[in-house]
Symmetry: C2
Subunit: 447 residues, 2 copies
């Protein structure tokens, strides 16, 4: 059997970084193999909209095979990398081993609970489609259970949502959760006043959106508070129990807790045998390569690289991942064409700005040193995010979903799959008369 | 606490029949309670398109609460009915009991395996969103595994799809599965020629689409065969094992088996203590009421009613369910206004015709005694199905999905959620050279 003489580029991970690298190598005389545990590329910035029942998973996910279908030098393996052996230049999958001449590790990050892994069962994070669907299920079930819960304390807890982490994910989730309660579903329920649902956003640091300029931080805080979100800055979570979050001395009873506070590098990084930072990310050089292994690169959320110009680490955001993937593909293409590895120009991250939405028509954006807020920023955010989606159809669907969601105050993907089993502390007597011309309040709820 | 003086109408099931009944009672001086195990109303005729990755679940499901949001006399309970006690006029849920003055049982049907319940694990049916997502997962995984399967027999089995049951669901599934193999995904894979995938449709009776006229049956058979589907009429399944379907003397190795052959009434019917037919459906009178209990009705797929005019049972199809729900609501509204139960006009099913699609642009339709086929029938089918969807947004999304799927030969919801674990008999060496300029065939596959 003839062997393929081309150098083998192996890319672990079909996210922003890995896919960009693969596509940029389309014309290079290499064979490209992309390995991913999942069959799809996920547009993570919009995952919170799956979690809050605005979008369906397929709206923000595209099969990796379809994306690379027409790239003749690329193939896709669905599989999980168990270990990476730098000495023998092989990657171990369950199905067998893969050798490489160039390796691009783009496996991303997963949730980190600061050593308290037991919190994960109570407070899910938001990194994958399954995470988003689980959060969606819990949020929808919270209202279903509250409707039929006669125990007043249990009902209040079910109508309390705590989001931990004040970065863009936490801010966007908190705003969306408040929007559901205040605008989307009040008329769906007869016994509860969903507008009384509490959304609490907890951030350990002094500011929301730590990576954005101060003015944007203030606008985000003001807007969330105007929506009715209870923002707790400088508040560190000391414990999470089923049904409550503990902030030092204060205990917040809450049936709904979402973790948006920390990430760590994918576990397979530990099999490399190279230095990792405190978050488990691989410390790479100016060329994004692993020390002592110039043909092994780490890109995206898994890479720790302090930018020489700014002195700050390259952030774990989509544009940085895309730039890193493109950069590394460029290096490989040059060197396959004969360039020397000694001549590598260092990677420079170009910060094109950042944005976060707050509720249905507000956002903050900082682009090229200029800051925007309000409706204009929201439109800008929408355009950038929709344009980044892969595929014309997805763009149209998502734009239409948003337009519909906006005009009709409807979350359009409010689906609970699987048979729900409502957990009630004390079920309300189903014979209760129709009420709710007077909304139940915590003090006057009937026993 | 004041009690509600209005008669209580309790509706079990938020499908076509139950929801129609609820909505038709909007103006009647009654209180309406809809109980369903799920939070959503499901448009079952399009479920096969979720199973074949064309549509997302949220495209064909609408929250029951949202549908009934503006109906002041209606409320919704998410819960499972455990038993119905006719003597005491109460329904038992996990959360408590519900009394009624009028009961409409619209709980529908579930899969029936003709006494071979062990088959269910191997050959899932298609009745719920979870069913559809499971089938979708298995179909997508079949190709992923076949791509990396070195054992030739295992690979052929993974590329073999058997659909059991030649009614509309089976016909539509078989056509869609062949379309995926032949048109949608060939370019996604490098080692397998997906156009060689086999789709086998097994029907025990002498014809496909037994409820349709003979000419439509013939067109369906011809069209499926022209697409390359292997149609086995007069073939009864005698056994289903993991990895094979047995038809008498013949054993078909197949890793993908879908059951579309039988339904039975929802199990809660057995708690009624009234006669059921062989499929577990409740035998009702000309007024769709349970014998001896004129205020208890059964409608939709759970009802067995032989139509006096035709001598045939009212079929388990959506239009019949809708008509039954509307009829019963009318009776209740009349009697609450003073009409006598003795004066009930019998239910008459108006057969408005039936349709089934076959692949991407063919269908058969029989409406008002006239038969159509080909592209015209497919357009008719599309219009009817889209119009029946609840909600403007869903209609637009589905029409756009179909248009996109048609123009681009893409199944637009090809998402595998959860971490797939490919099951391979013998994994192909990942180092295999890129092949597939010559498609592998069963005889010449490399060992």
């Amino acid at each position: 059997m003839a062997t393929d003489p081309r150098p083998r580029v192996l890319i672990i991970g079909g996210g922003f970084a890995g896919l960009q690298a693969a596509r940029r190598l389309a014309k290079a005389p290499v064979s490209v193999t992309v390995v991913d545990r999942r069959n799809h590329h996920l547009f993570q910035p919009l995952l919170y909209q799956v979690a809050t029942a605005v979008l369906s998973p397929a709206d923000i996910a595209a099969p990796i095979r379809a994306i690379l279908r027409d790239q003749a030098n690329a193939r896709v393996i669905l599989g999980e990398v168990q270990a990476i052996d730098l000495a023998s230049q092989t990657v171990h999958l369950a199905q067998g081993e893969l050798g490489f001449e160039h390796l691009i590790i783009a496996a991303g990050a997963t949730h980190a609970y600061f050593g308290n892994d037991a919190w994960q069962a109570v407070a899910p994070g938001l990194k994958t489609v399954e995470d988003a669907l689980e959060i969606r299920r819990r949020v929808l079930m919270a209202y279903e259970e509250a409707e039929w819960e006669a125990d007043a304390a249990a009902r209040r807890a079910k109508l309390t949502f705590v989001v931990i982490g004040g970065g863009p994910t936490g801010v966007e989730l908190a705003g969306a959760l408040k929007e559901i309660a205040a605008r989307t579903i009040p008329r769906d329920f007869r016994f509860i006043d969903t507008t009384t649902a509490q959304v609490i956003l907890v951030e350990a640091g002094p500011h929301l959106l730590a990576a954005m300029p101060a003015a944007s931080q203030q606008v985000a805080l003001d807007d969330l508070q105007a929506m009715g979100v209870d923002v707790r800055l400088g508040s560190r979570v000391t414990a999470i129990e089923p049904g409550a979050v503990v902030l030092g001395d204060e205990r917040l009873p809450a049936a709904n807790i979402i973790w948006a506070a920390g990430v760590q590098g994918a576990p397979l990084a530990r099999t490399l045998g190279v230095p990792l930072d405190r978050q488990g990310r691989v410390i790479v050089g100016p060329d994004l390569a692993v020390p002592e292994a110039p043909n092994v690169f780490v890109v995206g959320d898994l890479a720790h690289r302090v930018d020489d110009a700014t002195g700050r680490p390259v952030p774990g955001v989509a544009p940085a991942a895309i730039q890193m993937g493109a950069y590394v593909a460029g290096l490989i293409a040059d060197e396959v064409a004969g360039a020397s590895p000694g001549a590598r120009a260092p990677f420079r991250y170009r910060d094109k700005g950042s944005m976060a939405t707050i509720g249905r028509n507000r956002a903050v954006a900082a682009v090229n040193g200029r800051e925007f807020s309000g409706l204009f920023a929201w439109v800008l955010w929408s355009l950038v995010h929709v344009w980044s989606l892969i595929g014309f159809r997805r763009r149209v669907f998502v734009m239409f979903s948003w337009l519909w969601s906006y005009l009709s105050f409807t979350k359009v993907a409010r689906l609970i799959t699987a048979t729900p089993e409502p957990q009630l502390t004390r079920p309300r007597d189903p014979q209760s008369p129709e009420g709710a011309t007077v909304p139940p309040s915590p003090q006057t709820d009937p026993p």
